[in-house]
Amino acid sequence: MQLNADVPNNDTTAPAPGRWLSGQRHLAGAALNLAVGLGLAGGFLLIWQAWLLARVVNAAVVEGTPLDSLWHWLWPLLGVFALRAVVAWASEQVAFRAAAQVKLALRDRLYRHLQALGPVYLHGERSGELSSLLVDGVEKLEAYYARFLPHMAITALVPLAILAFVFPLDWVSGLVMLLTAPLIPLFMILIGKGAERLNQKQWRQLARMSAHFLDVIQGLTTLKLFNASRREAQVIAAVSDAHRKSTMAVLRVAFLSSLVLEFFSTVSIAVVAVLIGFRLLFGEMAFFQGFFVLLLAPEFYLPLRQMGTHYHARMEAIASAERLIEVLETPTPKPPATPVAPPAAGPFAITFDAVAFDYPGGRRALAGTSFHIAAGETVALVGPSGSGKSTTINLLLGFLQPGSGQVRVDGIDLTYMERDAWLRHVAWVPQRPRLFHGSVRDNIRLGRPEAGHDEVERAARLAQAHGFITQLPQGYDTPVGEGGQGLSGGQVQRIALARAFLKDAPLVVLDEPTASLDAESEALVQAALERLAEGRTLLVVAHRLATVRKADRILVLDEGRVVQDGDHDALMAAGGLYARLTAAYRGTEVQP
């Protein structure tokens, strides 16, 4: 079996896509071998059929045998036909199964890997491109496992079987076949090299097109505001035209290679036919042998000819596998070797000890930040944009690991805890919460899908969300989607707060919890937050005075450092950044 037809890649860091694809074969289980077995069985049936057919034609043409005396060949032919149909059907099923198992397993692995890489990685990548990798990229592997792999084996086996029958009958034709056969894959590989490069370009083009379309769709309202949405039609035209061109470039090579293959096999069959013809004419050969070999000749070259098509399928899979490998080979944050369980019960004390963090590219986000939050304390984190608040949160949530220094929970270094185990004790409301496809209820129950209606409603009431939810057309069962369309920013925020209330975690992290709430609701939510803070540690990234003033303590971040630490009155008295921020908040300095 010639399954490892892959050219080794010079790149030493990542596995060669061909070898990698071949390495995932075990995921298909026995189905692949069964597909090859069925293919071979089909080959033998084909030879048998040609033999019977040649017998019938030989008897009728050469010997003038009447129909009545041919039934002992004609009846078995019907049986062979039926068997071939069954084998053809079964091959398709088995090959599909092989690919399906690989696709299922790889898609699952890819998604879990992305999950392990975490949200910070996804931010840097285009989510449109990655989601198309997850769906279409994995889909593209199908042809490799369902067609290319079984076919490579069949390509090697069936022509050999045919040769085994042809040689004893007619060694001349056998020799022609044997000599011409290797030329076909040779030419194919020569052409395939160029096509492979084109194919990778094509895949990138497709990914770029997806990302562009997603960008436009998500920004359509913005485009519309600037009357730019009609203009965008031209860009769409240009992008899809570029896609057409690169697709055609790939196809042209593919068509050309099948042209070459077809040409060679046609010429080879012609040579076989001519040699047979003249030997027949000169009486050096019996018609039966000649006709039998002639029937088999196209079947001998057929799998070789189809190699072009299947090789093309392999290239498509390879291009997509490259991206898959790239993502799958991105190392995930190492889970601790001997994980330490998070403290059994909250509230937790949190310590940042000289934590520094640089983003790739060198941007310094935190420069040796140290602070301590006592168990059960409510601490507000304030600071201008870019002061390192988001990084602090990402470190605390375990989405980032400190470059140096430690983040400790009740004295335990966070890097010794498994991320998911730690997150079980944390509730989080981000700046722009996301609502997932499902009902309002499902969204509130995100952290506790088993929660009953009473609990959901209680959480919603605490988050000041119950009122508007009951006014929705289907109440708690109202479907909501991506971006919380149909709900205002404040309503989405309150559903996210309800999530946090329902989760009932000992550590709560809130990023601007009162954003887009008016002063009145802000007061109500504030009261709710105070209730939430009872018996819990609460870290609030806040810009709102009302939130900040109720905090036990305020940490003021500036350029990745804690520059002030104290309660509202103390910090106001001290002057400095906090006092400036507060003054700005009250609007006293804003004058037209």
Partner: protein, 576 residues
């Protein structure tokens, strides 16, 4: 059927290359069948001549074989090239056509769709349509021509041969595809739907990953993705069973035809109807003739999938915009003032009214603020002014003309909007600014950056205005993104400025700086500021307090404070 005709009509502009493709394909088909038939006859004739010890003219059949072989190989190449090129041009055109219908629907009609779903319509669904053109339209045309050629050729020998061959071709080319199409309809639709739902699930999962992880829903989402993936594969499995069936029945059909033709032809041998070598020809001709119908069953099996995709495309194309453009040209506004007269609006039948009996005026060059809590109807006001929706009751006037008499584009030309939801495109900063005005000069860009206080930030970037931003680029902070919005508004230079929570979610220091930039922007423009923050309201000519869709207080900052109502209460809480 209606959908099918509609799809077929879309191909009309491309009929010439398509027709050329059909002709080349037909020539290829004739060459291929001819090659097999002549070769069979040639071998048999040579054998008989050899047995009889006579010689024969082998030059003409050999020349025929050569010609057929060349036409066959070159023809297939040419046909593929021509039809694929035409089809991809068509698809590219369809994408633009789809987008042009999608665009007027935003945002009102598109709320119910997930962007991942829309993405799969404009990309995957349109790609699926190639099936119709490459695998249905062209092959059906070729099959019709081919069947006629087969019939004529065989009838020339004996009508019964033609009848048998055509009967089998009809079964394989009409009955089998019809049955498969019926069987394939449901899995085909399921295939499109499961693919879209997996796609949408993937976007949801990847963009919302932080929350999924914190709420321990990562595993559940993984299971859900796996289930969606499994559903897609189940739909594919059904399709695969059918295509296995198609393949098996075609092979069986071809063999049975050859077999039956042999039964019919053998008694005819030597009777003067058929020469003996012609039996080999007939048998091989019958086998090869199946190429006429070979692509059909598979194509019709995919018809369900194709039509499913087509329906999803037509669903968008046929949707009427919420606020349709008038047929007549837009009026020219006599001034840049806005007036709402007793406007009432709700988002759908049964939905509670978002605005009730709103009357307000923003005279040319005046500044009006609408203050209210979340859900009080502030954003709705903006949606109505931009004519994303039309009110059910009352009138909105701009420059003394009803908003309904303006085409959406013409109306929005007069408005610049700074809102909390500013989409940054994955592109350079320059391109993101030029969204507002593609012709903006470098000087204009620099001036806008200056007013929006983005100048220093841009200067600090190594690539300056060519810094890549958006999802795949530099992530701007909330304040910076808002400044981009302000710069865009400046570049647009429209007479009316609509500010929707322009400082939402920003820290106080940033907010203060941003307000300064905004005041520069307000100069000489009619301004409607929508906010819940009591910042900068002293500078407004009028303040309206909105509560649950109604205006409950109105006056200037000073008047409202003096009145001691809700507004005064809000203000007091801020400054206690």
């Amino acid at each position: 059927m209606k959908d099918l005709l509609r799809l077929a009509r879309l191909v009309i502009p491309y009929w010439k290359p398509m027709a050329l493709g059909v002709l080349i394909a037909f020539a290829t088909l004739v060459a291929n069948v001819g090659l097999m038939a002549v070769s069979g006859w040639f071998i048999a004739a040579m054998a008989l001549a050899g047995l009889a010890g006579v010689t024969m003219n082998y030059f003409s059949p050999a020349a025929l074989i050569r010609t057929f072989a060349i036409v066959r190989t070159v023809g297939r190449y040419g046909e593929r090239l021509v039809t694929h090129e035409a089809t991809f041009r068509l698809l590219s055109g369809l994408r633009v056509w789809f987008y042009e219908h999608l665009e007027p629907l935003a945002p009102a009609r598109l709320q119910q769709y997930r962007s991942g779903d829309l993405l799969s319509r404009i990309r995957a669904d349109i790609d699926t349509l190639d099936n119709l053109y490459l695998r249905i339209l062209v092959p059906v045309a070729v099959a019709l021509l081919g069947a006629v050629a087969v019939g004529v050729f065989l009838a020339w020998y004996h009508p019964s041969l033609a009848l048998v061959n055509l009967a089998f071709l009809t079964i394989a080319g009409v009955v089998v595809p019809f049955v498969l199409q019926r069987l394939g309809r449901r899995p085909g639709r399921a295939l499109v739907e499961t693919n879209a739902s997996l796609q949408a699930g993937a976007v949801d999962a990847l963009q919302g990953m932080s929350e999924l992880l914190v709420y321990g829903a990562g595993e559940r989402q993984a299971v859900q993705i796996r289930r969606a993936s499994g559903e897609l594969i189940a739909a594919q499995a059904q399709m695969s069973r059918l295509s296995g069936l198609a393949q098996a029945s075609l092979g069986l059909g071809a063999n049975l035809t050859a077999w039956t033709m042999a039964l019919v032809a053998i008694p005819l041998l030597g009777s003067g109807v058929l020469e003996r070598p012609e039996l080999a020809m007939v048998v091989l001709f019958a086998l090869a003739s199946f190429e006429v119908v070979m692509p059909l069953p598979q194509a019709f099996q995919m018809l369900g999938q194709t039509l499913g995709a087509a329906r999803r495309i037509f669903e968008i194309v046929d949707a009427r915009p919420q606020a349709p453009d008038p047929a007549a040209a837009s009026p020219v506004p006599s001034h840049h003032g806005i007036a709402l007269q007793d406007v009432t609006f709700s988002y759908g039948p049964g939905a509670p009214p978002a605005l009730q009996g709103i009357t307000l005026e923003v005279a040319s060059g005046r500044r009006v603020a609408v203050v209210g809590a979340t859900g009080s109807g502030k954003s709705t006001l903006l949606n109505l002014l931009l004519r994303f929706w039309d009110p059910q009751d009352g009138r909105i006037l701009f420059g003394d003309h009803d908003l309904r008499s303006y085409r959406g584009d013409d109306l929005r030309r007069h408005f610049a909007v700074v809102s909390q939801a500013t989409h940054l495109f994955t592109s350079t900063l320059r391109e993101n600014l030029r969204v507002a005005n593609p012709l903006a000069s470098e000087a204009a860009l620099a001036a806008a950056l200056d007013v929006a206080q983005l100048h220093d930030f841009v200067a600090s970037q190594p690539d300056g205005l060519d810094t890549w931003v958006g999802e795949a680029g530099l992530r701007l902070s909330g304040g910076q993104a808002r400044r981009v919005a302000i710069a865009r508004a400046l570049l647009k230079d429209a007479p009316v400025l609509l500010l929707d929570e322009p400082t939402e979610g920003l820290d106080a220091e940033t907010e203060r700086q941003l307000m300064r930039a905004l005041f520069r922007l307000m100069e000489g423009r009619s301004v409607l500021l929508i906010t819940h923050r009591l910042v900068g309201l002293e500078a407004m000519d009028e303040i309206l307090l909105l509560d649950r869709g109604r205006i409950v207080e109105r006056g200037t900052h000073v008047e409202l404070l003096a009145a001691g109502g809700l507004y005064a209460g809000m203000h007091a809480r801020l400054h206690d």
